[in-house]
Amino acid sequence: MTDRDARFSPLTVLGDGLLLLCAIAGFTLSFLSLYGGERLDEFIATPTTALDLCATQPGILLGPAVLFALATLCAWSLPRFRWAAAGGLAVLWGLLLFFNWDRTVQGAAITVRIISDLFTRQVTWGRAFAYESGLTPSQEGAAAKLFLMLALALLALALGWAVARARRWWLVLALTLPPLLPGLLADLYPDWPPFMALALCWCVMLLTDLCKWAAPDRRGVLTLAMLPCVGLALALITFAFPREGYTRPDWALRAEVRLSDTGIRLADFFAQFDGPFHNTVTYVGAAEEADLAHAGPLNYSGRTVLRVSSDCPDRLYLRGASLAVYEEGVWQPLPQGTYQEYLDRAGEDASSFPLEFPALASMGEDGAGGPYTATVDDVGTAGTCVYTPYFLFQAQWDEWGMLPVEDAYFARRQGQRQHTMTFMQIDPRRGLFPEDFAPALLAEYRDYVLAHYLDMESELSQYLARLCVDGGAAGAARYGESYDSIQAALDVAALLDKLCEYDPETPAAPEGEDPVLYFLNDSRRGYCMHFASAATLMLRSLGVPARYVSGFTAVPRPGRTVDVPDRAAHAWVEVWVDGFGWYPVEVTPPAAFEWYQQGELTPIALPSDPVEESDGPESTPTPTPSDDPAPSDEPSQPQGGDGEGPAGGLDPAILINIAKALAAAVGVAALLWLGQYLPKRVRIKKLSAPDRNRAALDGYNYLLRMERWGGRVDQRAVELAQKAKFSPHTLTGEELDELRTLVDRERERLCIVLSPVQRLVFRYLWGMPRRPEPPGSEQPPEKPE
C-alpha cells in the first residue's frame, strides 16, 4: 500500500499529464472531425450543422477541455486531499450544469439529432431522432457547444482519475472509445493526427500496465520513455500503410469467401444431426419480406453464395421467392391462409402447383428450348428457399428435395443445399395451355390472381396510372391477352429507364416518405429493388397482375461450375399471362451491369450474343435469355430472411457465425468462471455446513481429490475424518478449523508445485483457487458430546 500511496513525483505528474493531454485533446478533435465537418456535404446538401460549427472552431471546445483536464490532473496528483479537490471540481461542474440546464439539455438533444441524422444517411441501422429546438442555426451551435463543453469537462475529470489514479488502460479505453465507436463502425473517419494522439494514450497505458504500481519516479520515467517510442511506431504504421488509396487486399477478400463457405458447410454438417428424425423430410423457413424503405447503398463483399452448373448456355434467372403485398415500403407475402382459400375452391384439381403451369402448358409443343438440367449448390444464402431457374419441368419435388410453398417459392429440405432440377425455356406466345387442360383449375387460379395480385392503395394506384399514361407506357395496357401484359411490362420498364437512373449507392429514402414515390419523383435513382417495386406497382395500377421477385442471375458455362457472388443478387417482376402462368420480366436498366461487374471476384461469363431477340427493341427480359447486356442487378440489404442472401455490409451468415463464435467464447469463459466459482462456493458451503462431521468428511474428500494431483493426505486429516465418521462425537470447532487449514495449505502447496498447465486445469476445472477461502461464517453451537 505504501507504494501505492506515495505516488507523488514530478516525473510521474509530467508523464500522466502528457497522457491526459493526448487523451482529452485527441478525443475532442476526433469526435468533432468524426461527426462534424465537411464530409457531410458529400451526401446531402444540408445546411452546416451545429457540430460543423464546432468543428470549424475546435479551440472553443479544446481550450476549456484541456484546462479542465489540467485542473483534474493537479487534483488527482495531490499528495493528499485528492478526493476533496476532485470533489471541488465536480461541484464546480455541477454548478455550471445547474445554471445552464435548459441550454445544455437542448444542446444534448441537438447533438444527438445531428449524429442520428448522420447515421440514417450513412448506414442502414441508423434510426432518426426527431427533435425541433426552434432555435436558429447559430443558437443551436452555441447550445451544442455548451453541452459538449460540459460533457468534455466531465470526461476530463473521469479521465484524470483513470490516468493518474486508477491507471487502468481499459478504463481509459472504456471512457473514450464508446462515443467514437458508432462513427467508426459507420465508416466515418476522424482526423488522423488527433485520433493517433488518442491511440498513443491507449497504447502507452497498455504498455505500462504491468508497471503501474512501480515506484512513482520509475513509472514516470517509463511513461516518458514510452511516449516518443510509441508515437514513432504509430507514425510509422500510418506512413507504411497510408489511408489514401487503401483497398482491401485480395487475401482478405478470399479469406472472407473461404470463411463463409466453411461456416455454411459446418452449419450443414451439424444440421444433419438435428433431431432424432433427421431422415424424415422436413422443410424449413418461409419467405418473409423485402424492406425497401430502409434500403441504403448497396454493399457487397463479393463472396460466393451459389454454385451453379447447367447445360443451358443462357443467362439464368434463379428465382428465390415472390412477394405480393406492398405496404409502407415493405414487400410482404400474402397473409397466412389466403392460399388455402384457393386450394379449397379448386378442390381435387389443385394437385398442380401454379409455378408448374408454364411447363404443363408447353407439353407437346416444339417451341420450347431444352429440357436442360441445372444444379444449384447453395453455399451461402441465408434464407431457406431453393433458387430455381425458369421454368421447372417434370418436377419431382421429393426427389429434388424441395417443397412448393403456396405459389411463392420452394422451400428446401433441411440439411440439403444442393438441388438438381430440369427446366425448359418456354415462350408464352407459343406455349399456351391446350384447351382441354383443367379449365376449372386455371379459372380458379386466375380468379385468385386477380383477387390478390392487383391489390394496392387506390391513391397510389391513381397516381401511378396517371404517371404511366403521361409517360406513354399505358398504350398497351389492356388486360386480357397474354401478349399485352408482357408488352405492358416492357413499356413500363422503358418508362422507368427514361425517368430514373441506376445507382447502387442510392441512400435510403427519408423516414416517412413512400420509397417508391420518392424514387420516382425526388431522388430518381435507385437499383433493382426500386425498379422492380416501382414496376410492379405501376403494372398493377394499369390492371396487370404482377408481383415482386427476388433471386440471383447467373450465366452458366456448360461443363463447368460457376460461382455466383452475392453481388449477383437481383430483383425483377413477374406478370400474369393468361393461359400460361407467371412470366418474369426484367425492368432494371442495363446500366446496372457495369456496377455489377466491378470488383467481381469470379466474373460470370456473359453470353456473347443475345440468344433470343424478341419483339420490342427494349427486349422482353424473357425467362432466361435477356437482351440487355447484363440485367444482373442487385437487391439491397434488408431483404429480410427470404433467401435473398447477402445483405448489408456484413453478410448475415457471417454475422451469425461471428455471433455463434462470440457466444461460444462467452460460454467457455462463463463455464471456466463457473467451473472455478461454483465448486468453490460449494466447497465453502460444505466446509462450513452446520453439521460439522459432515463438513469434516467433505473436507477430507477434497483432500482425497487433491491426492490425485499429487497432494498429500495428512495423517491428522485422516484421524479427524475417521472421528467424524465413526465416533459418536461431533467434532469441535477447533478440530474442524484444523482440517480446513490442512485443506487450504495443501491446495496452496499444489498450486505452487503443479506445472502451469496442470495448475490451470486444477484451478479452473477443479475450482481450486490459490487464495484462501473464508471459513464458514456461522459456527453452530457446540453439541453436547
Binding site: D209, L210, R218, A233, L259, V753
Partner: protein
C-alpha cells in the same frame, strides 16, 4: 503489490491471441482502412513492447542472501532477494520460483514470488521457517522476466543459492563425570620413571617385543622380563556420539542436547570429538577444540540429510574410534548423555 500470478500471464497471452484473431476477422470482413490499421497495430505492439523491454530483460540479475547467515532455531531470519536492473526503467514483471530446503531433515518449501514494476534497489524479503534446525538453503528453481505486455518471457540466470544455518538451542546439560576427574589410572610403576616429563608404562614381556625396550634394570630386580613402553595419554578424549536420525522434532531435541554437551565440554576446556553416521552409514568424525571448529562441525552435522530411521552406532561398536588414543564415549540420546566406555 496486487495479487498476481503466472496464470495472469497465460491469461494475457490468451487475451492477446483472441484479440489478434478478432482483429484479423474484422479485417477480413470489413473493407475499411481502420481494420487494417488495427491489425497492424495489433501486430506491432508486442514487437514494440519486446524491443523496449529487451535491454532490461537481458540485463537483469538476481541475488540471494540470508540475514543473518546463522541463527538459533525459532529466531527471526529473512531471505533477501535483490534484483539488479541495467537501466533506470522498471521491469514489467518477474516471477521467481524459490525452493527452500532444510538439508538436515529434507523439508522443502516452495514459494513463488511475483514482482511487478521492479525498479527499486531495496531487496525483497522473505520469512524463513526456523522451526527446525538444520542448514537451510534457498535456491531459485526458475525465474522468468516478462516484457511490458506480458507476452514474451526470458529465463533469468539462476543466482548462487543462499544458505542459513539454523542452530540448535543448546540445553544446559549435566556433564557426566569425566575420566579426568576420576584421576589418572594408577600405574604401579609411576614412581620409577626414568626421566622427567616422560610417562612410561611397564608391562610383562611378550614374545616379539624388541630387546631395546626391555627394562633390564627392573628385569634383573624382579627376576622376570619387564618391558618399558611410552605411556599413552592418560586422559581419554570425550567422544560425543549420536544417532543422527529421527523425525524433525526428535532431531531438534537431539541436536540441542549435543550442542549443549559440546558447549559444556568447551566451557571446561575439554576438546572433544563428535561421531555420527551419515545417511549412507559412513562414520563422520569431527574434533572440536574451539568455537570455530564447533561451528564448522555443526555445518557438517546439519548439512546433509538425516533420514527418519537409520543405523545406530550401537550396532557398530567397531566404528567407535576416536581420532587416536582412547576415548570416553558419551552417547547423546533424547533423554540425556549416556556414558559408556
Amino acid at each position: 503489490m496486487p495479487p498476481a500470478c503466472v496464470d495472469a500471464m497465460i491469461l494475457r497471452r490468451i487475451l492477446y491471441g483472441l484479440t489478434l484473431v478478432g482483429v484479423l476477422l474484422f479485417h477480413i470482413t470489413n473493407e475499411n482502412y481502420l481494420a487494417q490499421f488495427l491489425l497492424c497495430l495489433c501486430v506491432a505492439l508486442p514487437l514494440l513492447s519486446l524491443a523496449l523491454s529487451l535491454p532490461g530483460m537481458l540485463g537483469c540479475r538476481l541475488e540471494l542472501s540470508s540475514l543473518p547467515p546463522a541463527l538459533e532455531r525459532g529466531a527471526d531470519g529473512r531471505w533477501q532477494a535483490s534484483i539488479k536492473t541495467p537501466n533506470g526503467l522498471p521491469l514489467s514483471r518477474l516471477t521467481i520460483h524459490l525452493r527452500c530446503k532444510n538439508l538436515l531433515n529434507g523439508q522443502r518449501d516452495h514459494r513463488r514470488l511475483v514482482l511487478s514494476g521492479v525498479a527499486r534497489r531495496r531487496p525483497v524479503e522473505l520469512t524463513v521457517s526456523t522451526d527446525h534446525c538444520g542448514l537451510l538453503e534457498l535456491r531459485v528453481d526458475r525465474a522468468r522476466v516478462y516484457d511490458y505486455l506480458g507476452l514474451f518471457s526470458l529465463r533469468v540466470a539462476r543466482p548462487q543459492p543462499a544458505r542459513m544455518l539454523c542452530r540448535p538451542i543448546p540445553v544446559p546439560v549435566e556433564l557426566p563425570t569425566l575420566p579426568e576427574a576420576q584421576g589418572a589410572r594408577p600405574s604401579p610403576v609411576s614412581a620409577a620413571r626414568s626421566g622427567p616429563g616422560e610417562d612410561y608404562e611397564l608391562r610383562d614381556y611378550r614374545p616379539g617385543d624388541p630387546m631395546r625396550s626391555v627394562h633390564w634394570k627392573l628385569s634383573s630386580k624382579w627376576d622376570e622380563l619387564v618391558v618399558r613402553e611410552l605411556a599413552e595419554t592418560l586422559i581419554p578424549l570425550p567422544l560425543l556420539t549420536l544417532d543422527r536420525f529421527g523425525e524433525s522434532d526428535a532431531l531438534d531435541l537431539l541436536l540441542d542436547r549435543t550442542l549443549g554437551m559440546s558447549r559444556a565440554l568447551l566451557a571446561v576446556q575439554r576438546p572433544h570429538a563428535l561421531l555420527w553416521l551419515d545417511k549412507d552409514g559412513q562414520p563422520q568424525l569431527r574434533v572440536v577444540s574451539d568455537e570455530k571448529q564447533q561451528t564448522e562441525c555443526l555445518l557438517d552435522l546439519m548439512g546433509s540429510f538425516a533420514p527418519p530411521a537409520g543405523p545406530s552406532l550401537d550396532d557398530h561398536p567397531e566404528l567407535l574410534r576416536g581420532p587416536d588414543g582412547p576415548v570416553f564415549r558419551i552417547h547423546v540420546t533424547l533423554k540425556g548423555g549416556d556414558t559408556r566406555d
